[in-house]
């Protein structure tokens, strides 16, 4: 589904953040991406999400060469990727329901056609009672679940989560992890970027460890 071959990236004239990174993300796979701060996790996620272009190497995403993807193709390809940010990035003037429904609204769908799906997903992530609440009122865990629900609403082929349990207590972290495992069982590939060794120990999954810009993979 996604393949990196000898990918390197540097910002401007700075040092190379990623060096000769090569790996493959198969369909329905589950993996953790870890490494110390500054190792290049976020840069790797940005490359996966196509918000950056590599300075060298080859990236193939959904069978397309990243360097040949045009600006008009980009949004359509991004619709296959769900992203959960560490800082949630919910829109404060929209309710939880409207935030989760945003990807569908962007695709031009009528509200009546997706209302039931959004409500069902919100109940699934435990936000059924909080769907008309604005994000500033939600707790950190609720925001995180809303962000995950937004990433999942269109059933993406791959979900990228940047520290999804970084702002929640261990109990909620386990609950969110179960949610992501369940999602993976339903057919979505999952990449979780995390520092949390405890979280990684709970699942027997592939670990991609970045260190000083180089990637080690432990299957």
């Amino acid at each position: 589904m996604i393949r990196f071959e000898n990918v390197g990236h540097r910002y401007g004239m700075g040092p190379e953040i990623l060096r000769d990174v090569s790996f493959q993300l198969p369909e329905r796979s589950f993996q953790f991406l870890s490494g110390p701060s500054g190792a290049g996790k976020t840069t790797l996620l940005r490359l996966l999400f196509m918000s950056l272009k590599p300075t060298r190497g080859l990236i193939t995403i959904f069978g397309k060469d990243r360097s040949k993807i045009t600006r008009t193709e980009l949004p359509l390809l991004r619709r296959n990727i769900g992203v959960v940010f560490q800082d949630f990035r919910l829109l404060d003037h929209l309710t939880t329901y409207e935030n989760v429904a945003l990807p569908l609204r962007v695709r031009g769908r009528e509200e009546a056609s997706y209302r039931a799906d959004v409500i069902e997903l919100l109940k699934w992530v435990g936000l059924g009672e909080r769907m008309h609440v604005l994000p500033p009122i939600l707790s950190g865990g609720e925001k995180q679940r809303a962000a995950i629900a937004r990433a999942l609403i269109e059933q993406p082929r791959i979900l990228l989560a940047d520290e999804p349990t970084g702002n929640v207590d261990p109990q909620l972290a386990r609950r969110l992890l179960r949610l992501l495992i369940e999602l993976n069982r339903l057919g979505t590939a999952v990449v979780i970027a995390t520092h949390d060794l405890g979280l990684m120990d709970q699942v027997d999954a592939r670990r991609m460890v970045l260190s000083a810009g180089r990637l080690e993979i432990y299957d």
């Binding site: 940005r46 600006r71 949004p75 991004r78 992203v83 829109l91 609204r105 031009g108 509200e111 937004r150």
Partner: protein, 333 residues
């Protein structure tokens, strides 16, 4: 407190308690705009568009007024020609006047010809020579007024030749010089007016570009989120365009209405002061200050044009902004 007001107050309190702070209940059927209007086009923007529209409409109204007045002058002048016969010793003036008149009247496109008689000529000269003038004692040129059909103009060259052959002292003035000058003046005025209008519209477009860029910068977090949920550039642009179209429509309508009020006010003033010397002077120059249906239609066109210009400019600006951002500063995680 009345029963009705206490019921409403209690209802409001109950609703607040039910919904709670920070909640928008399922009562809100219409989805919230993705880009909040408060973040985009504020009152200042509407005010600027209103002022620009007002000035544009005034310019258009002034152009219409001058063009219509010049057209009226042109038509009035073009409806007449003058035959002038200079006196000469031995010339039988009444006979010469009659011959010239008869020749003129025989041409197609001439609806009538009349000799300005001695009394009327004396009245024409009265401001310079005073009253009690014996016109026969002075070598005063005499005139024949030829009335023309504006739809089919006579062959002036042939008429001029024939009159000069019959009466060598006669000259035919078809007022062409005046008409040409008026046409040139009207065209210059219209060109200047249109140039001013174009400048106003350009200034409006530039204002919208600045406002759109400001709105884009202020809503960077929303654009970022829209990007990563897979929104196409045209969708993002449409979210901004609807606000700018609304602001443009509000501002343009207010400006257009203001201009119409000014036009009606001028018309009312000139109608009320019709007999005064000031109004007579203004009427002589500009007609009766009525811009007519074409002027009001022009105001409507300017209003629609400015609203459309606002929406289009913001749309194009957003697309170009997104293109630049994509190329130089991709959205980050």
């Amino acid at each position: 407190m009345t029963d009705a007001s206490s019921i409403l107050k209690n209802l409001g309190r109950n609703l607040s308690a039910h919904i709670g702070p920070g909640m928008r209940g399922s009562i809100a059927k219409k989805p919230m705009p993705i880009v909040p209007s408060d973040n985009v086009a504020g009152r200042t923007m509407v005010l600027v568009i209103a002022i620009m529209t007002f000035l544009s409409c005034l310019t258009l109204g002034a152009v219409t007024l001058v063009r219509d007045t010049a057209a009226t002058w042109q038509t009035q002048i073009a409806r007449e020609a003058t035959i002038q016969i200079k006196p000469e010793e031995g010339l039988d003036m009444p006979d010469a006047l009659a011959r010239a008149r008869d020749i003129a009247i025989g041409y197609n496109g001439v609806t009538g010809a009349s000799i300005v008689d001695a009394a009327a000529t004396a009245r024409l000269l009265e401001p310079w020579l005073g009253t009690g003038l014996d016109i026969e004692s002075l070598p005063v040129p005499r005139l024949v007024i030829v009335t023309l059909d504006p739809a089919s103009r006579p062959d002036f060259a042939a008429m001029r030749n024939e009159i000069q052959e019959a009466v060598p002292n006669a000259t035919l003035d078809d007022h062409r010089t005046w008409v040409d000058r008026l046409v040139a003046m009207a065209r210059t005025t219209v060109t200047i007016g249109m140039a001013v209008l174009a400048l106003m519209l350009s200034a409006t477009a530039l204002t919208v570009i600045f406002a759109t860029r400001g709105a884009m910068a202020g809503n960077g977090h929303i654009i970022e989120v829209l990007h990563f949920v897979g929104a196409e550039a045209s969708f993002i642009a449409s979210q901004f365009r609807r606000h700018f179209l609304l602001a443009g429509m509000k501002g343009a309508a207010a400006g257009g209405l203001g201009a119409i009020i000014v036009f009606i006010g001028f018309y009312w003033w000139s109608s009320r002061n019709m007999a005064t010397p000031e109004a007579d002077q203004a009427t002589a120059l500009f007609g009766n200050f009525a811009i007519g249906p074409s002027g009001y239609l022009g105001v409507a066109v300017v209003v629609v044009l400015i609203a459309a210009l606002t929406a289009t400019t913001s749309h194009v600006t957003v697309l170009s902004y997104l293109k630049t951002v994509d190329a130089t500063h991709p959205d980050g995680m």
